[in-house]
């Protein structure tokens, strides 16, 4: 399991898990769960299109994901809650994106395998060509989060205070959506568009159930994401069953454990913004 061939897989998946854990922490904090569902759908079309054109799939993912993030952010579809009218257009647009992806995939010759890989993940097939972009994206996302940590935290927890201090919540929201889009582009090749939610949101939500302290929650989110991915790789390697199955199931399991832990011992720590 730890042969040189597999190292690619372990390293790539670990990077993805760390980034997913960090970005997911903010997504759960900000309630951006709709975006976490929506962006991968658009990204799927981009990936399928890129594959059809023979371009590196990551670029297709990134372009469509960022475009989707910009669309969601600027059209004002509220990612933090749901308003009736924009909903229908966004919902239909997302489905059209999936349909577009289906079109691209069906035109390509490998349509069955490709459908599967793009939607359910294929970490073992991550090629050399994809490792470097994933690594690069990871660095970019990490820096983007690090640089904007305080505004992100402030706008998530105390939006009015942020506005009073001159921080544009709309601007930060757009910024975060783009960051999430980039994180999506590196996560989808590993776990697939349909299961990205499980990896990005599951561990973060589990962590938040247990503690509200930002630093602890984010660290725990990363730890759980890593654990999910490592367990999934190991089990997938042994059984040959798809990685996505394990990510979905283990992600849900951790989330339920988090809920159970909160039921048993309600968290005491309040969020502290220093």
């Amino acid at each position: 399991m730890f042969s040189p061939l597999m190292m690619n897989t372990w390293v790539t998946a670990s990077i993805v898990a760390v980034i997913a854990g960090i970005v997911g922490f903010f997504a759960v904090l900000r309630g951006s769960t709709f975006a976490a569902h929506a962006i991968p759908n658009g990204a799927f079309a981009g990936a399928a299109g890129a594959s059809l054109l023979g371009i590196n799939v990551i670029w297709g993912l990134a372009v469509f994901a960022v475009a989707g993030a910009l669309g969601i952010g600027t059209l004002g579809a509220d990612t933090r809650g749901r308003r009736a009218r924009e909903d229908v257009v966004t919902a239909l647009a997302l489905v059209v994106m999936l349909g577009l992806g289906a079109l691209f995939v069906s035109i390509s010759s490998q349509y069955a395998e490709e459908t599967y890989a793009l939607l359910f993940g294929e970490v073992f097939g991550v090629s050399r060509g994809e490792v470097l972009p994933i690594l690069g994206l990871g660095v970019v996302v990490a820096i983007a989060i690090g640089v904007a940590f305080r505004p992100l935290m402030l706008t998530s927890a105390l939006p009015e205070v942020a506005e009073a201090r001159g921080v544009s919540t709309r601007g930060v929201e757009l910024y975060f959506l783009i960051v999430m889009a980039l994180a999506t582009s590196m996560t989808v090749p590993v776990v697939g568009a349909l299961l990205m939610f499980s990896l990005m949101i599951g561990p973060a939500a589990a962590a938040r159930s247990v503690t509200a302290r930002p630093g602890t929650a984010m660290t725990l989110s990363v730890v759980i994401a890593l654990a999910t991915v490592w367990l999934s790789i190991a089990l997938s390697y042994q059984t040959n069953w798809p990685l996505g199955f394990f990510v979905g199931t283990i992600g849900a399991a951790f989330y339920l454990i988090g809920l159970a832990a909160r039921a048993v011992a309600p968290r005491r720590a309040q969020a502290v913004i220093s």
């Binding site: 759960v28 769960t33 709709f34 976490a36 569902h37 809650g81 749901r82 009736a84 909903d87 229908v88 257009v89 919902a91 239909l92 647009a93 489905v95 059209v96 999936l98 349909g99 577009l100 289906a102 079109l103 995939v105 069906s106 035109i107 349509y111 069955a112 395998e113 459908t115 599967y116 939607l119 359910f120 993940g121 697939g192 349909l194 299961l195 939610f197 499980s198 949101i201 599951g202 939500a205 069953w241 798809p242 996505g244 199955f245 394990f246 990510v247 979905g248 199931t249 992600g251 849900a252 989330y255 809920l259």
Partner: protein, 305 residues
């Protein structure tokens, strides 16, 4: 016209089956979709679609027709949802998202195992994105019957359904078993989702559920007329989608054909956008769950002043 109706269109068996099944799907989804939007339960439809993915994959694994998988999984989930109260959730919150993620993960597993066992590779695509051109004729009666039963349930419950969506408490006061009605509605919704999943795939099925009905509700206030308009809109999108998909055999890449579901969902979106072309000043009908702006805080403050 010749280019729209390419040669052999109407004499093709699969096309005729597709048109028939497409009609059943469009009418069922159109009617039930109106109730779904009025009840604000679009997310329930979405959840059922994800569950249907798991069911369809499971059916494929055990060698059954995908429709039965969609149906059984959907109806079971509908019963559970009513029991747990999940359908009242408005959006993809974390809990449902994670649970549905696990369901999709299971779908991944079933598709993989099924592909191993049967050595057919197309199942992932047909379960997720539809199989309207490859429906086996012996399932057609079952499809039609399911649609008819679902529509019958809705027809019988129509008044009560409208009442419970507008005012559940009033309904209860009048002795209506709101729970039972809710479950019956969700079961009918599950049937509708299953039919749509056969036509355009589990992942894309919500388009036929929400799109035409949202379009219709933009155009008319009356639920009855909305149902008719919704069915017609859905029918137009579905039939035109089938025709275009057949025609696309002659488009590049030649001899391959584009997926029906792509055309259908795009047409549904186009139809919805077209409904925005309407004379200004007309009152846009609202879901009972939305507050009219006249009731907003700004106007009441203004009134006080």
């Amino acid at each position: 016209m010749h280019y729209l109706f390419e040669p052999g269109l109407f004499s093709s068996g699969p096309v005729r089956t597709a048109l028939l099944v497409g009609a059943v799907v469009a009418v069922t989804s159109g009617v039930i979709g109106v109730f779904t939007v009025l009840r604000g339960q679009s997310f329930a439809g979405h959840s059922l679609a994800d569950v249907a993915t798991t069911g369809g994959s499971g059916a494929f694994l055990v060698g059954l027709n995908q429709f039965w998988g969609f149906l059984v999984a959907g109806v079971v989930a509908a019963a559970l949802m009513e029991a747990i109260g999940v359908q009242r959730r408005r959006g993809r919150d974390v809990a449902t998202g994670v649970v549905l993620g696990a369901a999709l993960g299971a779908a991944a597993l079933f598709l993989y195992l099924g592909t191993l066992q049967t050595a057919t590779t197309g199942a992932s695509f047909t379960v997720l994105f539809g199989s309207i051109f490859v429906i086996s004729p012996d399932t057609v009666p079952a499809l039609i019957a399911s649609g008819a039963i679902a529509l019958l349930v809705i027809a019988v419950l129509a008044r009560v359904l409208l009442l419970t969506s507008v005012s559940p408490d009033l309904a209860r006061a009048r002795g209506v078993n709101v729970r039972l009605v809710g479950t019956a509605y969700l079961a009918a919704l599950a049937v509708s989702v299953s039919l749509a999943a056969v036509a355009i795939g589990a992942v894309l099925s919500t388009a036929l559920l929400i799109g035409p009905s949202a379009t219709a509700l933009r155009v008319t206030r009356s639920p009855g007329r909305a149902m008719a308009a919704s069915a017609v809109t859905g029918l137009a999108a579905t039939w035109l989608g089938i025709v275009l998909a057949y025609d696309s055999y002659y488009w590049p890449p030649h001899g391959h054909g584009w997926p029906v579901s792509f055309f259908v969902v795009t047409l549904v979106l186009v139809g919805y956008l077209l409904s925005y072309i309407r004379p200004r000043g007309r009152q846009v009908p609202r879901s009972p769950h939305e507050e009219a702006p006249e009731c907003g805080p700004e106007t009441s403050v203004g009134a006080v002043r």
